[in-house]
């Protein structure tokens, strides 16, 4: 049985549990895990004050319960697999460098901010600033993959520098705001002002969208690289269709307020 933490008491204020990563807990005795520090608001507490610990510490970690009020779950993890059998709060997977973090429910705002590697999978929906920049930093996510099976809020991929964000549902306004590079694939509907102030990188839109006036149409074609990405996403369980893989995409270059080296690829619908 993998190491399992079960939330038995909802915190009255958000709980910060930055140490809940498989690589940090691997091999530790149960008593030591139970004594790990978590912060309930500004009050220092023990992990065991909120969680029941069972199983053995190995590369697999499972957390049961509604963690919607628990922040920084899986933040900074470098390896192993962490499964959250429910929702997770803000900053989930922030600064991840490796491993796989699977959230069976949804995640709060700022999930995957500053991520540098690994894979964050959200079976539900994500809040705002998915894969965005940590406070005070220009660059957002710098590597890795975020896959969201539900919807994503506003400013997903803001400041994205490298890596892949894919959302099966709808995406809020200003996706890819000020993005520097990297790839965002929106399989559902897209909000307003995608790619505003983007310098480089790619936003792929499968639904109709009106680019900002600072984007210019080039041509419609079949980008060879996109086949790799879409097949990759389909292999990971996202609902990518043959029409999307084989389709033609209109290429809009922008943002001309910046370098005009970015692109929005919009699937042509017949």
């Amino acid at each position: 049985m993998p190491l399992t933490l079960s939330l038995r008491e909802q915190p009255t204020v958000p709980l910060e549990a930055g140490g809940l990563t498989p690589d940090l807990l691997a091999g530790r005795p149960r008593g030591e895990i139970e004594r790990l520090t978590v912060w309930e608001g500004n009050r220092r507490a023990r992990l065991a004050d909120f969680f029941t610990v069972s199983g053995d510490g190995d590369e697999d970690l499972r957390v049961d319960g509604d963690l919607g009020r628990v922040k920084f779950v899986g933040a900074g993890m470098t390896g192993g697999r962490l499964t959250i059998a429910g929702d997770a709060g803000m900053h989930t997977g922030a600064g991840m460098r490796g491993g796989e973090l699977v959230v069976e429910g949804g995640v709060g705002d700022f999930a995957g901010t500053g991520m540098r590697g690994g894979r964050l999978v959200v079976r539900g929906s994500a809040g705002q600033q998915l894969g965005g920049a940590p406070p005070g930093e220009r660059a957002g996510m710098r590597g890795g993959e975020i896959l969201v099976h539900g919807d994503a809020g506003e400013q997903a991929g803001a400041g994205l520098r490298r890596g892949l964000i894919a959302v099966a549902g709808s995406v809020g306004d200003a996706v890819g705001l000020r993005m520097l590079a990297g790839t965002i694939v929106a399989l559902g509907r897209l909000g307003a002002a995608p790619g505003a102030d983007m310098r480089r990188g790619t936003i792929v839109a499968m639904s109709e969208v009106t680019p900002l006036p600072t984007f210019a149409f080039g041509c419609a074609y079949r980008p060879p690289f996109l086949r790799l990405y879409l097949r990759h996403l389909r292999a990971l369980g996202l609902p990518v269709t043959d029409e999307q893989i084989e389709g033609r995409y209109g290429r809009w270059s922008g943002d001309s307020l910046e370098l005009r080296r970015g692109e929005i690829l919009i699937l042509e619908t017949t």
Binding site: G143, R162, G163, L164, T183, R200, T202, Y221, R222, P223, P224, F225, R227, L228, Y229, R231, H232, I245, R261
Partner: protein, 299 residues
């Protein structure tokens, strides 16, 4: 030794190390993928005159390629890692980048890699862009047709070159028929190529020449027309024509397997004799004995 009615000389093929790479080419149609692979592997029969040896390994079904399009797999060999890197850049640049609708990927899993797409990207003159997926970097090079996609790094590994069988017949028709059957059977083996035209060479060579500066010259001991003229001959009296099939492979096992299939097919097609070329065992570390190569061989 005999295999069916074919005499098999109790000798060995002498093979030596050479660096190899596998190039996967995809395109909108099998025809264009094949066209690019044919161009990529053209004029690459022997390192002696072409700086590399190359051939099409096989056609690829869309389910086998990275982008799900029809493709072709080619192997390219050169004497050293640096030479192989140069040939890859030259040939992918001139033959695949230029070919309509193609993309080009590394098809080998090995630790050592060389930069290919990272060099070819400069053709984009600043408009190129890169994508990193699953730890592999790809370059998107804008071209007049649309976009050329090429993987940045290609794996290279030490392979085996110079595996061979030599097929002797009473006349050209008999020897060539046996050689064609042998080459066809060998093409079914993975990880190998036969770099000569149609897989068959009519001009097997020996090392050196009476003319200074020539690295190789005709192998007079196996030329039927010189049977009574050369100081030594290996051509039996009833033989009128000889062909050689050279095999380069990523592994010694694959080269051995190809030789075995070629030997069986040549014997089945009525070759008078099958032998193998070597340099007395002094040149290459791999000696592939014909004895024991196929189960039906008898003394």
């Amino acid at each position: 030794m005999r295999l069916s009615d074919t005499e098999v000389v109790d000798t060995f093929a002498e093979a030596f190390p050479m660096w190899g790479a596998r190039i996967l080419i995809t395109a909108e149609s099998p025809a264009w993928a094949h066209e690019a692979a044919r161009s990529l592997t053209g004029f690459a029969t022997s390192v002696i005159g072409c700086k590399c040896e190359a051939g099409i390994e096989r056609e690829l079904d869309p389910s086998e390629t990275p982008d799900g399009r029809p493709g072709a797999s080619a192997l390219l060999f050169a004497n050293d890692r640096e030479g192989l890197a140069k040939r890859l850049v030259e040939r992918v640049g001139q033959s695949v980048l230029t070919c309509p609708t193609t993309a080009c990927f590394n098809g080998l899993d090995a630790e050592e890699t060389v930069d290919v797409g990272g060099q070819l990207r400069f053709f984009g003159d600043g408009y190129q862009a890169s994508k990193v997926l699953d730890g592999r970097r790809y370059w998107r090079v804008p071209v007049m047709e649309g976009e050329f996609l090429v993987e940045e790094r290609f794996a290279v590994a030490e392979g085996v070159a110079g595996g061979n069988i030599i097929i002797l017949g009473r006349d050209v028709a008999e020897a060539l028929r046996a050689a064609e059957e042998a080459a066809a059977a060998m093409r079914a083996v993975r990880d190998v190529i036969m770099p000569f035209p149609g897989g068959i060479a009519r001009s097997g060579s020996k090392v050196g020449s009476r003319y200074s500066g020539l690295m190789a010259s005709t192998n007079e001991a196996l030329c039927p027309t010189l049977r009574s003229q050369a100081p030594h001959t290996d051509v039996p009296p009833e033989i009128g024509s000889v062909f050689e099939i050279v095999i380069d492979g990523l592994t010694l096992e694959a080269v051995r397997e190809a030789m075995a299939r070629g030997l069986e097919a040549a014997a089945g097609a009525g070759a008078s004799q099958v032998t193998a070329g070597n340099y007395g065992g002094n040149l290459g570390p791999h000696h592939i004995e014909l004895r024991g190569l196929v189960p039906g061989l008898r003394d």
